[in-house]
């Protein structure tokens, strides 16, 4: 073989192809191999260091939430017809898979009050980035205006993608935990392709979606994008009724467990005028030669196998299994159930905000309306307080500044509620958080 390709040794292939400056001039410093049983013990010990929401009382949120997932979701998702397939290259042979996509799209379309949904994208932040790219394809403009109330990870993702799209990102400051309306309107100029906000936002606050959309409309009419938490759409007015053009979001809360951060899926729904610019796959309903109901992948000319480098996206691997969990979950909840769940979250969140906000050294970080999550301002070091709570088996929430890196977020703790956190769980959190804050203040001599 070496002779056939005209080199004397394997080393010569590397010498010729890989520049000396990037080559390692010694063997990789890897430990010796271990017997399988020792590897097992090693991995078991590593796995034991993980803590799950089943083991501690967790109020973590900020995008991923510990909702109850009914057994029905696992039962259907574990069927091999759904569990094993890779992305369908001959999709019409798998009518069940296409029907699931179609039902999922229908559910997302109803939730968001937007007529077209795709069959899902990777996850929340990349869904926002995809919306930014779609806006560029739509109106050819170069700027993305984004509210500072959007999750920091989403901002980072969009910033990374925007550079590749040749777009500039303009971040609008927040004021009293919501998008500064005046700065928002001023930031939107004639070259603004999309105006993006989160509902509810990163601080748990409900934005005035109608006012933000209307202001954008009046200011040069960019594509208005809302990043939504789908589980609260039973109680919040859906984006399609607030003047929003594109609703995107993290879908994990719908029937997907935390699973240490993934996998999950992103939802993507839009007004009909955007359908040919949308990323991802879209399943459509049709009739066969005999007039029977059937399903197809529709509008495939947008996709990479036809449009090549000018495709609307290059999402090849489906998140179909995660989206299946979502549609099973939504079907299980039903139209009434998602409203009741939203009302329950509202009630528990209001109770928790009152109970925790009245503790010594703790106050609500803002007075904006909230649904399922809210920020507290602690008069103590958040990381130290969280450590003290962890000793009591409680994770009180997210250290906001640790996630955002913003100076103004110092002292903020983001507390999320789900239906799995009962009133007595909240009372227990109040007790432990109150004690932790008091102890920390005493320790540093406040």
């Amino acid at each position: 073989m070496l002779k056939a390709i005209g080199v004397a040794s394997v080393q010569e292939i590397f010498d010729r192809q890989v520049p000396a400056g990037v080559r390692l001039d010694r063997p990789l410093a890897l430990p010796d191999g271990l017997p399988e049983q020792e590897v097992y013990e090693h991995l078991r010990a590593l796995a034991e260091r993980n803590t799950s929401a089943e083991q501690e009382l967790s109020f973590l949120g900020a995008g991923f939430y510990d909702h109850y997932v009914p057994a029905l979701v696992d039962m259907l998702c574990e069927r091999s017809e759904f569990l094993t397939p890779y992305t369908p290259y001959q999709p019409e042979i798998s009518q069940g898979g296409l029907q699931v996509m179609f039902e999922y799209q229908t559910a997302i379309s109803e939730l968001t009050a937007l007529p077209v949904s795709n069959a899902s994208v990777y996850e929340g932040p990349s869904a926002v980035a995809a919306a930014g790219y779609m806006a560029k394809l739509h109106n050819g403009r170069r700027r993305l205006v984004i509210s500072g109330g959007v999750h920091p990870h989403t901002l980072q993702t969009l910033r990374t993608h925007a550079r590749g799209y040749g777009m500039d990102l303009v971040e609008v400051p927040i004021r009293d935990a919501v998008t500064d309306a005046r700065a928002w309107a001023e930031a939107i100029d004639a070259d603004t392709s999309a105006a993006i906000f989160a509902q509810p936002n990163f601080y748990g606050a409900v934005e005035d979606a109608e006012a933000l959309s209307a202001a954008a409309r009046q200011r040069h009419d960019p594509v208005v994008v809302a990043q939504v938490d789908p589980i609260v759409l039973g109680v919040l007015r859906p984006p399609g009724e607030c003047g929003v053009d594109v609703a995107v979001g993290e879908g994990q809360a719908l029937g997907n467990r935390l699973d240490y951060g993934g996998p999950s899926f992103g939802l993507f729904a839009a007004r009909e005028q955007f359908v040919r610019r949308m990323p991802g796959r879209i399943a459509g309903e049709t009739t066969d030669l005999d007039g029977r109901r059937g399903f197809v992948l529709t509008l495939q000319t947008r996709e990479q196998h036809i449009r090549r480098e000018r495709a609307t996206s290059n999402i090849c691997t489906a998140q179909a299994l995660n989206a299946l969990a979502a549609v099973v979950y939504l079907s299980w909840l039903g139209r009434r159930g998602i409203v009741e769940l939203g009302e329950l979250l509202l009630a528990r969140t209001a109770y928790a905000r009152r109970a925790l906000g009245s503790l010594e050294g703790v106050r609500p970080a803002h007075e904006q309306p909230v649904v399922r999550e809210f920020a507290l301002a602690l008069d103590a070091d958040v990381a130290a307080v969280r450590r003290r709570c962890a000793e009591q088996g409680i994770n009180p929430g997210v250290d906001v500044q640790a996630l955002s890196g913003r100076p103004q977020d110092q002292g903020l703790l983001l507390v999320a509620l789900t239906e799995r956190r009962s009133k007595s769980d909240i009372d227990r959190l109040a007790e432990v958080l109150g004690a932790a804050v008091a102890a920390e203040r005493e320790a540093v001599g406040v």
Binding site: R276, T301, I306, R307, R310
Partner: protein, 129 residues
């Protein structure tokens, strides 16, 4: 339109586009051969009036059930009108490619470019017709 047809009053571009030059303006479209190759056209995305088109460069897309294809400008100029009727029903591109299926009208920036285009006989023989 079932049978190949290349009207003699039109000029043709090798990328299967036609131009009907009338004074300083020209109407542009795709040829019978192009629509036959594409199959049923389901969508036409026109450029905005006022934008410039350059000879040999794409200025619009036609989408058929099989593919999305660029439409190449046979002549340079500025778009003065687009066929709005195609937005709701692009089937005229298949049924009447030289009439109701016209795509855009341009004000020519360099009328001498027409000298580089083919007449119906040369285009017809280039597509084996």
């Amino acid at each position: 339109m079932a049978d190949a047809s290349y009207p003699s009053e039109l000029l043709y571009h090798p990328e299967h586009d036609w131009a009907r030059v009338e004074g300083e303006e020209a109407t542009l479209g795709i040829t019978w051969y192009a629509q036959e190759q594409l199959g049923e056209v389901v969508f036409f995305e026109p450029p905005a009036p006022g934008t410039s088109v350059s000879k040999d460069a794409p200025y619009a897309e036609v989408e058929s059930v099989k593919a999305v294809s660029d439409v190449i400008a046979p002549l340079s100029g500025e778009i003065v009108a687009v066929n709005e009727a195609l937005a709701d029903d692009p089937s005229a591109i298949n049924e009447d490619p030289y009439g109701e299926g016209w795509l855009v009208r341009v004000r020519l920036s360099d009328p001498s470019e027409r000298d580089a285009l083919m007449d119906a006989a040369s285009y017809s023989s280039s597509v084996g017709g």
